[in-house]
Amino acid sequence: MALVDERVAHGHGHGEAHHHELGFWQKYVFSQDHKVIGIQYGFTALCFLLFGFTLMMMMRWSIAYPNQPIPLVGWLLKASGGIIAPELYNQLGAMHGTIMVFLGIVPLAVGAFGNYIVPLQIGAPDMAFPKLNMASYWSYFVGGVIMLSSFFAPGGAAQSGWTSYPPLSDIAPTGQTMWLFGMLFLIISSVLGSMNFLVTIIQLRAPGLTWMRLPFFVWAQFVTSFLLLLAFPALQAAAVLQMMDRLAGTSFFLPSGLVISGQQLQVAGGGSPLLWQHLFWFLAHPEVYVLILPAFGIIAEVIANNTRKPLWGYRSMVYAVSFLGFMSFIVWAHHMFMTGMGTVMSTFFQTTTMIISIPSVIVLTALIISLWGASIRYTVPMLFALAFLPMFAIGGLTGLPLGLAPSDIHLHDTLYVIGHFHYVVAPGTIFAMFAGIYYWFPKLTGRKMSTLLGQIHFWPSFLFMNGIFFPMLIQGLAGVQRRLYDGGASYSHAQPVLHWNAFMSGSAWLLGLSQIAFIINLFWSMKKGEKAGNNPWEATTLEWAATTSPPLAHGNFVEVPTVHRGPYDYSLPGASKDFVPQHQLQEA
């Protein structure tokens, strides 16, 4: 954690002044200040993202050049002579997915941005339950440590995919048990965290900050928290059951008469493998919207600020995301069309799936129309925000053929699915995260990030993301299955599209290189970045309007602001400046 402390130290340069003295540990490590916790979340999550990214780059080697010793990091795998063996590949795949979703994006989008920004945007002194807030972070941290250490477990880390379908996961090596324990910690963290957010947003809004005056980002976090609160327990239950299967020898997920490599499996039997899938997807579908809603929120903030005009159709967007959140609980079995569903269930879930695509269309459309009549500033955060729109569009649109059972027959469990959701989470959510980091960095540090490095980060990233994921859709249409450690080399139907693999892997590694610009930018700008005032982007929302940058170390606001207007009063006719902060009564 050493690095976190340094970052905070800089982050709060003149914060300390206002600070009734706490010891070093309370201040930086076991801090209860939402801003410090936000930074802890952010930094930890970024490290996990980088780690998950690294795992993936190893996978990409095996996909493009199966059975060839991997350069650079080969020495790590002496046992196999530097070759990524299938069992290692399966571990990398499962852990990449798990880490990216549960240890990377969610903590970054909700834990970091939510923690840091939401209280500021609603004019609150802190989260409603600071102690709980600290608890959620450390629970997340422990969960992460368990997940990482599982690589050293006998038989290696979890290797049954991030979906951990039994019976395979029931009979998998110890790593799977650690995966389950890790999950339990992450779930506790998320449940406590989301409860904290909900109370904060409902109870601690500044006077005058009515629901329809909330910045869209807060709305997104609000809905997200509901999803986390009510969806995660299902996986919690499932994890407990699988734990019982693995440790107490029960057979919740094991039917009778299993024969594994010629031997009878000695269990009572009578379980149902599909039960796990229902419980898992009951969480995991809402979970994917947990990955995208905060992204929507950030994008909306950045777009409103850089178009210098109010969001178009703010209300419809609010209703849309609320509806989206509600619907996301009743579409989960569209992941299970191929499990032998009859007509009743498939009709129900195809219909709900088509319905749930509409709110996304509404939000995207509103965001695009917001550009009409704008005066667009092409700042770095805006670049990422704009790139998000078409990228999410591709990801979302490719969801449609998957959502229709008959076309899903050919596409299910192929790289088309991988392409679909990576378009939403990688050039989608990750770009939104980048936009958020570039946008709020001055708030954290009082300095701006370098625009030049930002450009150097953005353009290649944009290019290479597509270089990886578009061919995936083509390979998927050719029917190449996912989770193939040789990228399909041994299958006839994969041959016509096999040549893409090297190209995609190349793009992936170049994508990795282009991240260096970002990492340098991040650390360099902390010390040397151009000094920024309290409101460098001339924004209207409270986080900029009422506090210093970086914010007061404790309490956030010198005096509690009163809100007099909607979140995005940019270019208000008759106003002297082209933006009117929310807490400003009338034009001075």
Binding site: P86, E87, N90, Y165, P166, L168, A172, P173, R246, P255, G257, L258, I260, S261, G262, Q263, L265, P273, T307, K309, M338, T339, G340, T343, S346, Q350, M354, I358, A366, I369, S370, L371, G373, S375, I376, R377, L389, P390, L397, L400, P401, L404, A405, P406, S407, I409, H410, L411, D413, L477, A478, G479, Q481, Y491, S492, Q495, P496, V497, Y570, S571
Partner: protein
């Protein structure tokens, strides 16, 4: 072959089943719809990026866009999705999983997946499957657990990774798994169905094309141009090549093949021996670890 890929990208496999073309048509229609949406919205998007950049529009408009663009656009999207659902998806799916061909007409086959092979089981002349029992399973010699004492099992034909089908006859497959979840995937037949232990799931379709020469064994195994059974669900170490071979032939040839392979026990599976045995061979060591760890 009765298929039109309707401008789906190269590499999209040919369809060799009577229902394939219909699925492909839906896939194609959806993708055209996606393309239209993307281009439509995209053009508007790009135009805005250009027209409303700070230089050409220094002062933003507080009220922004007017008129019903969004309402109409969204209404159109809803309409198209309803059509896709009501006219295509739901009926097609109902057709796929409804009307099971009746046993007398159909070729009945049991397919039992295991790590990492496909056990194929034909009832033989008497048209009755011999009794099977998981307790009788032995890794090498009797992977299906066939009960030799059952007269019906005498003439049963069992193969590993060799699925032969007659042209133009409905095929009724009883799909299950011995160990973990696999997914029975015949790309050219547009068939995919998870094989779930403890459940026997019926799968049915009608092949409407025979293997082209380049897809005939044994050569195709070398040139990698076979028609294959693929496993589409992560099932362990050797999932990446849990591969079987599909041969569609005229009814006469099919009958002949059945007769030829009738007496043989499962162990020495029919040609091509190398391909047939490699997979199960790797299976045993691959799974040893997991089982031990339980």
């Amino acid at each position: 072959m009765g298929n039109t890929t309707l401008g789906l990208p190269m590499g999209f496999p040919p369809s060799a089943s009577s229902h394939g073309a219909q699925l492909d048509q839906l896939t194609a229609v959806v993708h055209w719809f996606m393309l239209v949406l993307f281009v439509g919205w995209g053009l508007f998007f790009v135009y805005c990026l250009f027209r409303f950049r700070r230089k050409s529009n220094p002062v933003a408009s507080y009220t922004g866009a007017k008129g019903g663009f969004s309402t109409w656009g969204e209404a159109a999207v809803v309409l198209v999705e309803v059509v896709l659902l009501v006219l295509f998806a739901v009926p097609i799916w109902a057709k796929r999983v409804g009307n099971v061909p009746d046993k007398s007409q159909a070729v009945q086959i049991r397919v039992v997946a295991e790590q990492f092979a496909w056990n194929i089981h034909y009832p033989g002349k008497d048209g009755v499957f011999g009794r099977t029992d998981s307790k009788l399973v032995t890794a090498g010699s009797n992977p299906l657990g066939l009960d030799p004492s059952d007269p019906a099992s005498k003439d049963d034909v069992t193969t590993i990774n060799q699925l032969h089908l007659p042209l133009g006859k409905p095929v009724l497959i009883y799909l299950t798994s011995k160990d973990v979840i696999h997914s029975f995937y015949l790309p050219v037949m547009r068939v995919k169905q998870d094989a779930i232990p403890g459940q026997v799931i019926p799968v049915y379709f009608t092949p409407d094309a025979v293997n082209p020469d380049k897809a005939k064994l044994p050569d195709c195994a070398v040139s990698k141009t076979c028609w294959e059974i693929a496993c589409a669900q992560l099932c362990g170490l050797t999932h990446y090549r849990m591969q079987g071979y599909l041969t569609v032939e005229s009814e006469a040839e099919f009958g002949k093949w059945l007769d030829d392979s009738a007496p043989k026990p499962a162990a020495l599976a029919p040609a091509p021996a190398p391909v047939a045995v490699t997979v199960p061979a790797t299976a045993a060591p691959a799974t040893a670890a997991p089982v031990g760890s339980k």
